[in-house]
Protein backbone atom coordinates (compact mmCIF):
# COMPACT_ATOMS: atom_id res chain seq x y z
CA UNK A 1 0.00 0.00 0.00
CA UNK A 2 2.91 2.33 0.71
CA UNK A 3 4.30 1.73 -2.77
CA UNK A 4 0.90 2.41 -4.28
CA UNK A 5 0.75 5.68 -2.35
CA UNK A 6 4.21 6.64 -3.56
CA UNK A 7 3.27 5.93 -7.15
CA UNK A 8 -0.01 7.79 -6.79
CA UNK A 9 1.72 10.86 -5.41
CA UNK A 10 4.19 10.87 -8.30
CA UNK A 11 1.45 10.35 -10.87
CA UNK A 12 -0.58 13.18 -9.38
CA UNK A 13 2.43 15.47 -9.26
CA UNK A 14 3.33 14.82 -12.87
CA UNK A 15 -0.26 14.94 -14.07
CA UNK A 16 -0.65 18.29 -12.31
CA UNK A 17 2.40 19.65 -14.08
CA UNK A 18 1.40 18.46 -17.56
CA UNK A 19 -1.23 21.11 -18.37
CA UNK A 20 1.18 23.80 -17.19
CA UNK A 21 4.09 22.49 -19.25
CA UNK A 22 1.91 21.97 -22.32
CA UNK A 23 0.27 25.40 -21.91
CA UNK A 24 -3.19 23.90 -22.23
CA UNK A 25 -4.74 26.69 -20.21
CA UNK A 26 -2.22 29.51 -20.47
CA UNK A 27 -2.50 33.06 -19.29
CA UNK A 28 -4.63 35.00 -21.76
CA UNK A 29 -2.46 36.58 -24.47
CA UNK A 30 -0.94 39.85 -23.32
CA UNK A 31 -1.98 43.01 -25.17
CA UNK A 32 -0.52 45.61 -22.82
CA UNK A 33 2.67 47.60 -22.75
CA UNK A 34 3.48 46.67 -19.15
CA UNK A 35 2.22 43.07 -19.21
CA UNK A 36 5.46 41.41 -20.21
CA UNK A 37 6.95 42.23 -16.81
CA UNK A 38 4.08 40.46 -15.09
CA UNK A 39 4.34 37.54 -17.49
CA UNK A 40 8.07 37.18 -16.91
CA UNK A 41 7.52 37.34 -13.18
CA UNK A 42 4.80 34.73 -13.54
CA UNK A 43 7.06 32.47 -15.59
CA UNK A 44 9.92 32.77 -13.09
CA UNK A 45 7.57 32.01 -10.23
CA UNK A 46 6.16 29.06 -12.13
CA UNK A 47 9.66 27.63 -12.49
CA UNK A 48 10.47 28.03 -8.82
CA UNK A 49 7.09 26.87 -7.59
CA UNK A 50 7.03 24.00 -10.07
CA UNK A 51 10.44 22.74 -9.05
CA UNK A 52 9.62 23.04 -5.35
CA UNK A 53 6.34 21.25 -5.94
CA UNK A 54 7.75 18.37 -7.95
CA UNK A 55 10.86 18.00 -5.81
CA UNK A 56 8.96 17.83 -2.51
CA UNK A 57 6.22 15.54 -3.81
CA UNK A 58 8.77 13.17 -5.34
CA UNK A 59 10.91 13.18 -2.20
CA UNK A 60 7.80 12.44 -0.16
CA UNK A 61 6.95 9.57 -2.50
CA UNK A 62 10.47 8.15 -2.45
CA UNK A 63 10.66 8.22 1.35
CA UNK A 64 7.26 6.58 1.64
CA UNK A 65 8.31 3.89 -0.86
CA UNK A 66 11.58 3.25 0.86
CA UNK A 67 10.86 3.46 4.57
CA UNK A 68 7.40 1.97 4.90
CA UNK A 69 7.22 -1.59 6.19
CA UNK A 70 10.90 -1.91 7.14
CA UNK A 71 12.67 -5.11 8.05
CA UNK A 72 12.11 -6.17 11.68
CA UNK A 73 15.74 -5.48 12.61
CA UNK A 74 15.83 -2.07 10.91
CA UNK A 75 17.14 0.85 12.91
CA UNK A 76 16.26 4.49 12.71
CA UNK A 77 18.59 6.44 10.48
CA UNK A 78 19.16 10.11 10.96
CA UNK A 79 18.82 12.48 8.05
CA UNK A 80 22.35 13.63 7.12
CA UNK A 81 22.96 16.95 8.74
CA UNK A 82 19.83 16.70 10.84
CA UNK A 83 17.41 19.50 11.47
CA UNK A 84 20.09 22.17 11.33
CA UNK A 85 20.90 21.34 7.72
CA UNK A 86 17.24 21.50 6.76
CA UNK A 87 16.71 24.82 8.51
CA UNK A 88 19.75 26.26 6.80
CA UNK A 89 18.58 24.86 3.48
CA UNK A 90 15.16 26.39 3.96
CA UNK A 91 16.62 29.76 4.83
CA UNK A 92 19.18 29.77 2.03
CA UNK A 93 17.18 28.19 -0.78
CA UNK A 94 13.72 29.49 -0.07
CA UNK A 95 15.05 32.71 1.42
CA UNK A 96 16.95 33.67 -1.73
CA UNK A 97 14.12 32.41 -3.85
CA UNK A 98 11.47 34.54 -2.20
CA UNK A 99 13.80 37.49 -1.88
CA UNK A 100 14.47 37.35 -5.61
CA UNK A 101 10.79 36.97 -6.37
CA UNK A 102 9.98 39.80 -4.02
CA UNK A 103 12.52 42.19 -5.47
CA UNK A 104 11.76 41.46 -9.11
CA UNK A 105 8.07 41.30 -8.41
CA UNK A 106 8.29 44.73 -6.82
CA UNK A 107 9.71 46.00 -10.11
CA UNK A 108 6.79 44.64 -12.10
CA UNK A 109 4.36 46.01 -9.56
CA UNK A 110 6.08 49.38 -9.55
CA UNK A 111 5.88 49.55 -13.33
CA UNK A 112 2.14 49.21 -13.09
CA UNK A 113 1.48 51.34 -10.05
CA UNK A 114 4.28 53.72 -9.14
CA UNK A 115 4.70 55.67 -12.37
CA UNK A 116 2.30 58.56 -12.94
CA UNK A 117 0.37 58.62 -16.19
CA UNK A 118 2.00 60.64 -18.94
CA UNK A 119 0.64 64.12 -19.60
CA UNK A 120 -0.95 63.20 -22.93
CA UNK A 121 -2.67 60.09 -21.59
CA UNK A 122 -6.26 59.85 -22.72
CA UNK A 123 -8.59 60.25 -19.75
CA UNK A 124 -11.54 57.89 -19.64
CA UNK A 125 -13.85 57.52 -16.71
CA UNK A 126 -15.48 54.25 -15.77
CA UNK A 127 -18.39 53.97 -13.40
CA UNK A 128 -19.30 50.66 -11.89
CA UNK A 129 -22.75 49.90 -10.56
CA UNK A 130 -25.01 46.93 -10.08
CA UNK A 131 -24.39 45.24 -12.62
CA UNK A 132 -22.90 47.18 -15.50
CA UNK A 133 -20.03 49.45 -16.37
CA UNK A 134 -20.60 52.82 -18.00
CA UNK A 135 -17.81 54.84 -19.54
CA UNK A 136 -17.43 58.56 -19.99
CA UNK A 137 -15.27 60.45 -22.41
CA UNK A 138 -14.70 64.14 -21.70
CA UNK A 139 -15.59 65.36 -25.20
CA UNK A 140 -13.87 68.20 -27.03
CA UNK A 141 -13.37 70.37 -23.92
CA UNK A 142 -11.32 67.64 -22.26
CA UNK A 143 -13.18 68.14 -18.98
CA UNK A 144 -15.55 65.86 -17.10
CA UNK A 145 -18.62 67.51 -15.68
CA UNK A 146 -19.37 66.93 -11.99
CA UNK A 147 -21.38 63.89 -10.88
CA UNK A 148 -24.59 64.60 -8.96
CA UNK A 149 -25.52 61.44 -7.15
CA UNK A 150 -29.11 62.59 -6.71
CA UNK A 151 -29.50 62.95 -10.49
CA UNK A 152 -28.27 59.45 -11.30
CA UNK A 153 -31.12 57.77 -13.13
CA UNK A 154 -30.77 54.57 -15.02
CA UNK A 155 -34.42 54.97 -15.99
CA UNK A 156 -33.54 58.07 -18.02
CA UNK A 157 -30.15 56.78 -19.12
CA UNK A 158 -28.47 59.50 -17.03
CA UNK A 159 -26.01 56.95 -15.66
CA UNK A 160 -23.56 59.51 -14.34
CA UNK A 161 -26.01 61.97 -12.83
CA UNK A 162 -24.94 64.76 -15.16
CA UNK A 163 -26.66 68.10 -15.15
CA UNK A 164 -26.31 69.00 -18.82
CA UNK A 165 -28.42 72.14 -18.50
CA UNK A 166 -26.36 73.82 -15.79
CA UNK A 167 -22.89 72.30 -15.89
CA UNK A 168 -20.89 73.60 -18.80
CA UNK A 169 -18.37 70.77 -18.63
CA UNK A 170 -21.05 68.08 -18.79
CA UNK A 171 -22.61 69.22 -22.04
CA UNK A 172 -20.17 67.50 -24.33
CA UNK A 173 -19.44 64.47 -22.15
CA UNK A 174 -19.97 61.20 -23.98
CA UNK A 175 -21.36 58.31 -21.96
CA UNK A 176 -21.14 54.84 -23.45
CA UNK A 177 -21.90 51.29 -22.47
CA UNK A 178 -18.83 49.80 -24.09
CA UNK A 179 -15.30 51.01 -23.87
CA UNK A 180 -13.25 51.81 -26.93
CA UNK A 181 -9.66 52.98 -26.77
CA UNK A 182 -7.08 53.82 -29.37
CA UNK A 183 -4.23 51.37 -29.73
CA UNK A 184 -0.74 52.32 -28.49
CA UNK A 185 -2.02 55.34 -26.60
CA UNK A 186 -1.82 55.55 -22.86
CA UNK A 187 -5.18 55.53 -21.13
CA UNK A 188 -5.71 57.20 -17.78
CA UNK A 189 -8.67 55.35 -16.33
CA UNK A 190 -10.55 57.20 -13.59
CA UNK A 191 -12.55 54.78 -11.53
CA UNK A 192 -15.76 55.66 -9.75
CA UNK A 193 -18.26 53.41 -8.05
CA UNK A 194 -21.92 54.33 -8.04
CA UNK A 195 -22.97 51.90 -5.35
CA UNK A 196 -20.83 49.03 -4.04
CA UNK A 197 -17.41 47.49 -4.36
CA UNK A 198 -16.69 46.28 -7.88
CA UNK A 199 -13.58 45.51 -9.84
CA UNK A 200 -12.14 46.26 -13.27
CA UNK A 201 -10.37 43.23 -14.69
CA UNK A 202 -9.20 42.74 -18.25
CA UNK A 203 -7.00 39.63 -18.23
CA UNK A 204 -5.45 40.38 -21.63
CA UNK A 205 -4.62 43.91 -20.54
CA UNK A 206 -2.97 42.74 -17.29
CA UNK A 207 -5.13 45.26 -15.43
CA UNK A 208 -7.02 44.55 -12.24
CA UNK A 209 -8.24 47.14 -9.79
CA UNK A 210 -11.11 47.31 -7.35
CA UNK A 211 -13.59 50.14 -7.25
CA UNK A 212 -13.86 51.58 -3.76
CA UNK A 213 -17.12 53.39 -3.00
CA UNK A 214 -16.37 56.85 -1.75
CA UNK A 215 -12.80 56.76 -3.05
CA UNK A 216 -12.02 57.51 -6.68
CA UNK A 217 -8.91 55.69 -7.86
CA UNK A 218 -7.13 55.81 -11.16
CA UNK A 219 -4.92 53.46 -13.14
CA UNK A 220 -3.16 53.83 -16.45
CA UNK A 221 -2.23 51.39 -19.19
CA UNK A 222 -1.48 51.16 -22.89
CA UNK A 223 -3.00 48.55 -25.17
CA UNK A 224 -0.77 47.40 -27.98
CA UNK A 225 -3.07 45.15 -30.04
CA UNK A 226 -6.42 45.94 -31.59
CA UNK A 227 -9.30 43.62 -30.92
CA UNK A 228 -12.38 43.06 -28.80
CA UNK A 229 -11.88 42.03 -25.18
CA UNK A 230 -13.99 41.71 -22.08
CA UNK A 231 -13.97 43.79 -18.93
CA UNK A 232 -15.29 41.73 -16.04
CA UNK A 233 -16.10 42.41 -12.40
CA UNK A 234 -14.21 40.30 -9.88
CA UNK A 235 -15.48 41.80 -6.64
CA UNK A 236 -18.67 40.13 -5.46
CA UNK A 237 -21.33 42.82 -5.88
CA UNK A 238 -24.62 40.96 -5.71
CA UNK A 239 -26.79 38.55 -7.64
CA UNK A 240 -25.78 39.78 -11.10
CA UNK A 241 -22.05 39.73 -10.38
CA UNK A 242 -21.45 36.94 -12.91
CA UNK A 243 -23.00 39.05 -15.68
CA UNK A 244 -21.33 42.33 -14.82
CA UNK A 245 -19.17 42.96 -17.81
CA UNK A 246 -18.52 45.28 -20.73
CA UNK A 247 -16.65 44.99 -23.96
CA UNK A 248 -13.37 46.71 -24.53
CA UNK A 249 -12.55 47.50 -28.11
CA UNK A 250 -9.02 48.47 -28.90
CA UNK A 251 -9.21 50.33 -32.20
CA UNK A 252 -6.87 52.05 -34.56
CA UNK A 253 -6.80 55.82 -33.92
CA UNK A 254 -8.99 56.47 -36.99
CA UNK A 255 -11.56 53.88 -36.03
CA UNK A 256 -11.53 55.23 -32.52
CA UNK A 257 -12.23 58.77 -33.66
CA UNK A 258 -15.06 57.57 -35.86
CA UNK A 259 -16.50 55.56 -33.02
CA UNK A 260 -16.33 58.52 -30.66
CA UNK A 261 -18.12 60.75 -33.16
CA UNK A 262 -20.80 58.15 -33.62
CA UNK A 263 -21.27 57.86 -29.85
CA UNK A 264 -21.38 61.63 -29.46
CA UNK A 265 -24.21 61.77 -31.97
CA UNK A 266 -26.21 59.31 -29.86
CA UNK A 267 -26.08 61.40 -26.70
Amino acid sequence: MAKLLAVTIIVIAIASAVPIVLHIWPLPADISAHGHLIDEQYADTMWEAGISFLASQILLAIFIWKYATPAPNATIKRFPGGAAALVIAAFVLVGTEVLALGVFGAKAWGQAYFSPPSADALPVQVQAGQFAFYFRYPGPDGKFGPIHANLISEANANFYGLDTTNDQDSKDDIVTAEMAIPVNREIHLLMHSKDLGHSFYVPELRVHQDFVPGLDLSIHFTATKTGKYEIVCTQLCGLGHYNMKAYLEVKSPEDYDAWLKQQAALQ
Binding site: F131, E154, N156, A157, F159, T176, A177, E178, G240, Y247
Partner: protein, 243 residues
Protein backbone atom coordinates in the same frame (compact mmCIF):
# COMPACT_ATOMS: atom_id res chain seq x y z
CA UNK B 1 -86.21 6.74 1.18
CA UNK B 2 -88.71 9.21 -0.24
CA UNK B 3 -88.02 11.69 2.49
CA UNK B 4 -84.41 11.73 1.50
CA UNK B 5 -85.38 12.49 -2.10
CA UNK B 6 -87.57 15.29 -0.88
CA UNK B 7 -84.72 16.76 1.10
CA UNK B 8 -82.42 16.55 -1.92
CA UNK B 9 -84.90 18.21 -4.19
CA UNK B 10 -85.52 21.06 -1.79
CA UNK B 11 -81.82 21.59 -1.30
CA UNK B 12 -81.20 21.68 -5.06
CA UNK B 13 -84.00 24.15 -5.52
CA UNK B 14 -82.58 26.42 -2.83
CA UNK B 15 -79.11 26.26 -4.35
CA UNK B 16 -80.49 26.99 -7.82
CA UNK B 17 -82.50 29.90 -6.51
CA UNK B 18 -79.52 31.35 -4.73
CA UNK B 19 -77.30 31.04 -7.81
CA UNK B 20 -79.95 32.60 -9.99
CA UNK B 21 -80.38 35.47 -7.60
CA UNK B 22 -76.64 36.03 -7.55
CA UNK B 23 -76.36 36.04 -11.36
CA UNK B 24 -79.38 38.25 -11.77
CA UNK B 25 -78.16 40.57 -9.07
CA UNK B 26 -74.87 40.97 -10.86
CA UNK B 27 -76.60 41.67 -14.11
CA UNK B 28 -78.68 44.29 -12.47
CA UNK B 29 -75.56 45.82 -10.98
CA UNK B 30 -73.62 45.75 -14.24
CA UNK B 31 -76.43 47.41 -16.02
CA UNK B 32 -76.10 50.35 -13.63
CA UNK B 33 -72.35 50.81 -14.10
CA UNK B 34 -70.92 53.27 -16.55
CA UNK B 35 -67.52 53.97 -17.97
CA UNK B 36 -65.08 56.81 -18.48
CA UNK B 37 -63.27 57.16 -21.76
CA UNK B 38 -60.95 59.68 -23.27
CA UNK B 39 -57.66 60.37 -24.91
CA UNK B 40 -54.33 61.41 -23.47
CA UNK B 41 -52.32 63.68 -25.71
CA UNK B 42 -48.98 65.34 -25.53
CA UNK B 43 -48.62 69.08 -25.83
CA UNK B 44 -45.81 69.78 -28.23
CA UNK B 45 -43.50 67.55 -30.20
CA UNK B 46 -42.59 64.08 -28.98
CA UNK B 47 -39.39 64.27 -26.95
CA UNK B 48 -36.35 62.49 -28.36
CA UNK B 49 -36.00 59.09 -26.74
CA UNK B 50 -32.41 58.06 -26.32
CA UNK B 51 -31.31 54.76 -27.74
CA UNK B 52 -30.31 51.99 -25.33
CA UNK B 53 -26.89 50.42 -25.73
CA UNK B 54 -27.28 46.84 -24.59
CA UNK B 55 -23.78 45.81 -25.59
CA UNK B 56 -23.05 44.29 -22.19
CA UNK B 57 -25.33 41.34 -22.94
CA UNK B 58 -24.93 39.93 -26.47
CA UNK B 59 -28.25 38.12 -26.15
CA UNK B 60 -30.10 41.42 -25.77
CA UNK B 61 -28.17 42.95 -28.66
CA UNK B 62 -29.22 40.04 -30.86
CA UNK B 63 -32.88 40.45 -29.92
CA UNK B 64 -32.78 44.08 -30.97
CA UNK B 65 -30.71 43.60 -34.11
CA UNK B 66 -33.56 44.77 -36.36
CA UNK B 67 -35.48 47.12 -34.06
CA UNK B 68 -33.12 49.25 -31.99
CA UNK B 69 -34.22 49.72 -28.40
CA UNK B 70 -34.82 53.14 -26.94
CA UNK B 71 -36.14 54.59 -23.73
CA UNK B 72 -39.89 54.31 -23.22
CA UNK B 73 -40.46 57.34 -21.03
CA UNK B 74 -42.68 58.98 -23.66
CA UNK B 75 -44.28 56.66 -26.15
CA UNK B 76 -46.19 59.03 -28.43
CA UNK B 77 -48.38 57.64 -31.21
CA UNK B 78 -49.65 59.33 -34.35
CA UNK B 79 -51.81 62.32 -33.50
CA UNK B 80 -49.90 62.93 -30.29
CA UNK B 81 -51.57 60.17 -28.24
CA UNK B 82 -49.53 59.23 -25.20
CA UNK B 83 -49.29 55.58 -24.21
CA UNK B 84 -48.60 54.20 -20.71
CA UNK B 85 -50.63 56.80 -18.86
CA UNK B 86 -52.53 55.39 -15.91
CA UNK B 87 -56.05 56.71 -15.43
CA UNK B 88 -57.84 56.02 -12.20
CA UNK B 89 -60.40 57.44 -9.84
CA UNK B 90 -58.87 59.61 -7.17
CA UNK B 91 -60.25 59.01 -3.71
CA UNK B 92 -62.10 55.83 -4.68
CA UNK B 93 -64.32 54.73 -1.84
CA UNK B 94 -66.13 51.82 -3.45
CA UNK B 95 -65.47 48.14 -3.16
CA UNK B 96 -62.08 47.15 -1.82
CA UNK B 97 -60.93 45.29 -4.89
CA UNK B 98 -62.63 45.63 -8.22
CA UNK B 99 -60.07 44.06 -10.53
CA UNK B 100 -59.59 40.33 -10.32
CA UNK B 101 -57.84 39.49 -13.58
CA UNK B 102 -54.18 38.44 -13.32
CA UNK B 103 -52.16 40.68 -15.64
CA UNK B 104 -48.76 39.61 -16.93
CA UNK B 105 -45.56 41.59 -16.65
CA UNK B 106 -43.25 40.16 -19.24
CA UNK B 107 -39.51 40.46 -19.57
CA UNK B 108 -39.07 40.29 -23.30
CA UNK B 109 -36.03 41.20 -25.33
CA UNK B 110 -34.46 42.77 -22.23
CA UNK B 111 -37.30 45.25 -21.89
CA UNK B 112 -40.47 45.26 -19.79
CA UNK B 113 -43.79 44.58 -21.52
CA UNK B 114 -45.82 46.50 -20.56
CA UNK B 115 -43.61 49.37 -19.51
CA UNK B 116 -46.26 50.48 -17.03
CA UNK B 117 -48.42 47.95 -15.25
CA UNK B 118 -51.43 49.37 -13.45
CA UNK B 119 -52.82 47.31 -10.61
CA UNK B 120 -55.56 47.40 -8.06
CA UNK B 121 -54.50 46.93 -4.47
CA UNK B 122 -54.06 43.24 -3.66
CA UNK B 123 -54.51 42.38 -7.32
CA UNK B 124 -52.26 39.47 -8.22
CA UNK B 125 -49.98 39.78 -11.20
CA UNK B 126 -47.52 37.45 -12.85
CA UNK B 127 -43.96 38.24 -13.74
CA UNK B 128 -42.78 36.03 -16.58
CA UNK B 129 -39.66 35.92 -18.70
CA UNK B 130 -39.46 35.25 -22.42
CA UNK B 131 -35.70 35.74 -22.53
CA UNK B 132 -32.83 33.30 -22.62
CA UNK B 133 -30.87 35.42 -20.15
CA UNK B 134 -31.48 35.77 -16.43
CA UNK B 135 -33.23 38.89 -15.15
CA UNK B 136 -33.81 40.11 -11.67
CA UNK B 137 -36.98 41.90 -10.77
CA UNK B 138 -36.29 44.58 -8.23
CA UNK B 139 -39.21 46.87 -7.40
CA UNK B 140 -38.28 49.47 -4.83
CA UNK B 141 -41.39 50.70 -2.98
CA UNK B 142 -41.29 53.04 -0.04
CA UNK B 143 -40.68 50.58 2.80
CA UNK B 144 -43.29 52.36 4.91
CA UNK B 145 -45.99 51.62 2.34
CA UNK B 146 -45.23 48.30 0.65
CA UNK B 147 -42.78 45.48 1.10
CA UNK B 148 -40.22 45.30 -1.69
CA UNK B 149 -38.47 42.29 -3.11
CA UNK B 150 -35.62 41.43 -5.41
CA UNK B 151 -35.69 38.13 -7.16
CA UNK B 152 -34.05 36.60 -10.18
CA UNK B 153 -35.78 34.73 -12.93
CA UNK B 154 -33.43 32.51 -14.87
CA UNK B 155 -34.53 31.31 -18.32
CA UNK B 156 -37.28 28.74 -18.03
CA UNK B 157 -38.17 29.60 -14.45
CA UNK B 158 -41.88 29.57 -13.63
CA UNK B 159 -43.78 32.87 -13.25
CA UNK B 160 -43.51 34.87 -10.05
CA UNK B 161 -46.94 35.76 -8.71
CA UNK B 162 -47.14 38.78 -6.45
CA UNK B 163 -49.51 41.54 -5.32
CA UNK B 164 -49.14 44.96 -3.70
CA UNK B 165 -51.04 45.80 -0.54
CA UNK B 166 -51.22 49.59 -0.69
CA UNK B 167 -51.57 52.21 -3.43
CA UNK B 168 -48.21 53.49 -4.57
CA UNK B 169 -46.22 54.26 -7.70
CA UNK B 170 -43.39 51.73 -7.59
CA UNK B 171 -40.43 51.82 -9.96
CA UNK B 172 -39.10 48.44 -10.97
CA UNK B 173 -35.69 47.70 -12.37
CA UNK B 174 -33.55 44.83 -13.51
CA UNK B 175 -30.09 45.35 -12.06
CA UNK B 176 -28.49 42.80 -14.35
CA UNK B 177 -29.72 44.94 -17.27
CA UNK B 178 -29.87 48.35 -15.62
CA UNK B 179 -31.64 49.97 -18.58
CA UNK B 180 -34.67 47.76 -17.93
CA UNK B 181 -36.99 50.06 -16.12
CA UNK B 182 -40.72 49.93 -15.59
CA UNK B 183 -43.48 50.90 -13.21
CA UNK B 184 -46.08 49.25 -11.06
CA UNK B 185 -48.84 51.80 -10.50
CA UNK B 186 -50.97 50.50 -7.68
CA UNK B 187 -54.31 52.29 -7.26
CA UNK B 188 -57.58 51.65 -5.46
CA UNK B 189 -60.56 50.97 -7.64
CA UNK B 190 -61.07 50.81 -11.39
CA UNK B 191 -58.28 51.96 -13.66
CA UNK B 192 -57.14 52.01 -17.26
CA UNK B 193 -53.89 52.47 -19.11
CA UNK B 194 -53.81 54.49 -22.31
CA UNK B 195 -52.91 52.60 -25.47
CA UNK B 196 -50.48 53.64 -28.18
CA UNK B 197 -52.92 56.15 -29.60
CA UNK B 198 -53.66 57.60 -26.18
CA UNK B 199 -57.15 56.09 -25.82
CA UNK B 200 -58.41 54.64 -22.64
CA UNK B 201 -61.61 53.32 -21.12
CA UNK B 202 -62.21 52.81 -17.43
CA UNK B 203 -64.98 50.25 -17.09
CA UNK B 204 -67.18 49.24 -14.17
CA UNK B 205 -67.62 52.74 -12.79
CA UNK B 206 -70.79 53.01 -10.65
CA UNK B 207 -72.84 56.14 -11.30
CA UNK B 208 -71.62 59.21 -9.46
CA UNK B 209 -69.15 62.09 -9.54
CA UNK B 210 -65.46 61.33 -9.71
CA UNK B 211 -62.08 62.93 -10.02
CA UNK B 212 -60.18 61.16 -12.78
CA UNK B 213 -56.47 61.24 -12.25
CA UNK B 214 -53.96 60.72 -15.04
CA UNK B 215 -50.49 59.65 -14.01
CA UNK B 216 -47.53 59.57 -16.33
CA UNK B 217 -43.93 58.90 -15.43
CA UNK B 218 -41.86 60.22 -13.89
CA UNK B 219 -44.25 62.25 -11.69
CA UNK B 220 -46.78 63.93 -13.98
CA UNK B 221 -50.33 63.91 -12.55
CA UNK B 222 -53.44 65.71 -13.73
CA UNK B 223 -57.04 65.53 -12.56
CA UNK B 224 -60.46 66.15 -14.08
CA UNK B 225 -63.92 65.97 -12.56
CA UNK B 226 -66.52 63.88 -14.36
CA UNK B 227 -69.97 62.58 -13.62
CA UNK B 228 -70.98 59.10 -14.70
CA UNK B 229 -74.65 58.36 -15.25
CA UNK B 230 -76.09 54.89 -14.67
CA UNK B 231 -75.06 52.77 -17.62
CA UNK B 232 -73.67 55.86 -19.34
CA UNK B 233 -70.24 56.99 -20.34
CA UNK B 234 -68.32 60.10 -19.40
CA UNK B 235 -65.38 61.61 -21.24
CA UNK B 236 -62.18 63.08 -19.86
CA UNK B 237 -59.35 64.09 -22.18
CA UNK B 238 -55.93 65.01 -20.89
CA UNK B 239 -53.08 66.96 -22.37
CA UNK B 240 -49.70 66.31 -20.81
CA UNK B 241 -46.51 68.27 -21.05
CA UNK B 242 -43.16 66.57 -21.35
CA UNK B 243 -40.69 68.11 -18.92
Amino acid sequence: MTRRYHFGAVLSAIVLLCCGALILGQKVNAAGEGSITGTVKLDGPAPHMRGIDMSKDPYCVKQHASNPAHLETWVVGSGGGVADTVLYLDGWSGAAQTETSVPVFDQKDCMYTPHVLALDTNQEFKVVTSDQTAHNIHPLPNPMINVGWNQSQPPGAPPVTKAWKNPEVIPVQCNIHPWMHGWFVVVKGPYAVSDDSGHYTINNVPPGSYTVKAWHEPDEAQTQKVTVAAGGSATADFTLKAK
